[in-house]
């Protein structure tokens, strides 16, 4: 399965904790197409440890959020901010073991202001270890330029890469 080229990759130095290959302290997630949406395989080292041998639960939430958020960006061609995130932990994730996070979108509803998505984290046997649901508020990059440390040219470049529907 081939990796999805994210729109953020047009920024040479983007540092997203979840998906940037340029952030040595980040998760460096790589997304692939999945029949339900997108997936991200991961195997976390001890820098992400909680109890000895156990992945920090906050990281599980970050991975679910990242996978759902990028799915929304890819499907809706709009950047979006997380409004709420709800996580259910079933079994702890082990340091050094392989997992996959699969995210899917909830169906669009007429007049909705928010996008909703769900995710699950599966171990190598396909057993569900955690689930998540979240809501996202879409925004245009140009509308939040004062909050972003990007130049006008970078915003224009990124907007083109996103294929924003307006703005």
């Amino acid at each position: 399965m081939s990796a999805i080229n994210l729109p953020w990759s047009v920024l040479a130095d983007y540092r997203c904790f979840g998906c940037s290959p340029h952030n040595p302290g980040g998760l460096q997630l790589v997304f692939e197409p999945h029949p339900d949406g997108v997936s991200a395989r991961f195997r976390l080292g001890r820098q992400f440890e909680s109890y000895p041998g156990i992945v920090h639960g906050g990281l599980v939430g970050a991975i679910c959020d990242e996978t759902m958020g990028n799915l929304i960006v890819l499907r809706h061609r709009q950047s979006a901010l997380t409004v709420s995130l709800r996580q259910r932990f079933i079994t702890p994730l082990a340091i050094g073991r392989p997992y996959v996070c699969v995210a899917r979108l909830d169906p669009d509803r007429d007049g909705q202001r928010l996008y909703r998505a769900a995710a699950e984290v599966l171990d190598e046997n396909g057993t569900v270890c955690a689930t998540a649901t979240a809501s996202y508020r879409p925004f245009e990059l140009a509308d939040v330029r004062s909050r972003l440390t990007l130049s006008e040219q970078e915003i224009a470049t990124l907007s083109r890469a996103l294929g924003e529907r307006s703005g």
Partner: protein, 90 residues
């Protein structure tokens, strides 16, 4: 996701919860009585109960309160919690 059984009687919710519980246990659905104590069933443990709850939440697109989840003991009780979460009469 389209929630199964939301257009029909509560029996459908019981049937769906039973099917999900049976899948977790690797048992035929017909062997699970609605009033059976889930934690007393051989092979069931707290992780399987939690996984069952996660699958039910996904199937119905609902969020069950944790206090409710950790108080659930039977298929019928779980179905009742689903009904309440869906806004139906228990």
């Amino acid at each position: 996701m389209t929630a199964p059984g939301t257009d029909n009687a509560g029996d459908d919710i019981v049937a769906t919860v039973t099917a999900i519980a049976a899948t977790e246990l690797g048992l035929p659905a017909a062997s699970l009585r609605p009033d059976a104590d889930l934690r007393e069933i051989e092979g069931m443990d707290s992780v399987k109960v939690l996984r069952m709850i996660a699958k039910i939440e996904q199937a119905y697109d609902i969020e069950l309160d944790d206090e409710v989840v950790f108080g659930l003991s039977s298929v019928a009780g779980t179905a009742g919690a689903v009904r309440q979460a869906l806004g139906e009469q228990p």
